[in-house]
């Protein structure tokens, strides 16, 4: 089966329980580092890109690019989710459009399978 090498999606960043535990444990803790370098993709997105749990993807936005390990999430097609943390912050919008609030949710992005 031929896989699509890259898809366009919308990025949402947010809290997870393990990310919260990581914050309390310390930002150098394994739990924090591991949780914040994961991206959740829907099953159909993973299928389209030919990905399995734990495979590496490259995600890029107008603001930056980063590499993440993927896991399956209960998400609508076209939406991807990354827990808050420094890797996600390389992709978020730093312009606040006069509100003081950067763009942490709803950011257009590209997801590309990395060669293994």
């Amino acid at each position: 089966m031929a896989f699509i090498p890259e898809i366009h999606a919308i990025l949402i960043t947010g809290r997870t329980l393990r990310q919260g535990v990581g914050v309390a444990d310390g930002k150098d803790s394994d739990v924090y580092k591991k949780e914040t370098s994961l991206v959740e993709l829907s099953s159909s997105t993973m299928e389209m890109l030919g990905l399995k749990h734990g495979d590496s993807v490259e995600i890029s936005t107008d603001f930056g690019v980063g590499r993440f390990l993927c896991r399956k999430g209960d998400l609508p097609e076209g939406i991807i989710f990354i827990p808050y943390g420094p890797p996600a912050n390389r992709l978020t919008r730093d312009a606040t459009e006069g509100s003081g609030m950067p763009g942490f949710k709803g950011i257009p992005c590209k997801v590309r399978r990395r060669k293994t």
Binding site: I10, I12, G14, R15, T16, L17, G20, V21, V23, A24, D25, G26, K27, D28, F63, G64, G73, D74, L75, P76, I79, F81, Y84, G85, P86, N89, R90, T92, R93, D94, A95, T96, E97, G98, S99, G100, M101, P102, G103, F104, K105, G106
Partner: protein
Amino acid sequence: MRRLENIVCSFCGSLCDDIVLEIEGNTISKVRGGCAISRSKFLSPIDNEVPLVDGKEVDFSEALDAAVEILAKARHPLIYGLSSAGSEAQAAAVKLGETLGASIDSTSSVCHGPGTVAKQLVGLSTCTLGEVKNRADVVVFWGCNPVEAHPRHFSRYSVQAKGLNTEGGRRDRRIIVADVRRTATAKAADIFLQVEPNGDFQVLTALRAVLSGNELRGDTFGGISRDEILNTSSVLQDAEYGVFFFGMGLTMTRGTHYNVQQALSLVHDLNEKTAFTVIPMRGHGNVAGAETVLTWQTGYPFGINFSRGYPRYGPGEFTVTDLLCREEVDAALVVASDPAATLPARAGEYLGKIPTIVIDPNYSATAKFARVFLPSAPIGVAASGTAYRMDQVPLPLKKVIDSKYPTDCDILLAIDKGVVECFAYKVALSMTH
């Protein structure tokens, strides 16, 4: 072994005040009643850090002097963070901000700040979490995920909690969740509205339109079908006592404060038909306190500048992301917060280009590139103080063990004293020449 009851956990805005701690010597050995995050918070070792200047270990007083020197020399310093500090430290930070003519902002600007702007426009019909527990039969969670971010919110206050008029707990409540993702919170809902990304304003507008007797034209609104809108609107109106919690799914998406303005207006409209209240689902333990203290001290909740000698308010101008991305500040003092790990990368990286001072019980990502690191006693563990719960109820945080370091409040007051002395010396010097 000492056993302490009714201790407040200050990690998140729920401020659960029923934690039981067992203490052996000067170490917390057991945490009962808390969630996984709370256990990590209380069981983390303290006093593991040392004061640093340029990455080298120094005496505390030397680090303090270096901090004073940086701030006294700065033309436009920024004071940022404060949401995990006690309210006494927050007040001390305002005092220092005024002395310095600094900009002062809390993490509010990157979480619920837009909600606060909306609150200033619409007003807030609100209540305490005690009322939610005892009275709420319809509970809305819009763009928030308490199951993961406030793990005990459901059981203590909003969903399973049993109260005077809600003896059946979960059975006596209808739960509505609106989110882009089917989160763990959404899985517990009676009605789940799976909103399109950036579609919240449309959904809220459609709900308001139906409530005010208008006919909907169109089939879907922000990803929600007409039938779902009609059904949700009737559940909202049928509430005996409804509560609307909202989170960053509204404040961080396109429209920011307009989304929240629409949500607060929806609650306002619902009060024409029944009793409805709204509570912002605040994240950090004392971010509500940061807004409260800054407001009572300066008149404004966040994004404040003292450079003219009096406070000016400017979301988008004096807020942390804008000040750092525009490279407008020449020194930063970060209190109990980790902007390098939480702000967009460009903003965080600028902190590495200017002299940055960090006051924190833990060696954070920001501390790694800070010029000065001052370890402090962790609030609610080795320092006492006050924190405001998400419903604005102030609760006392207890000191349960000892730290060798001062509290962040004492450190801020010491820096302020040092800066005042520096400024007085400069004036005296200029008069002799």
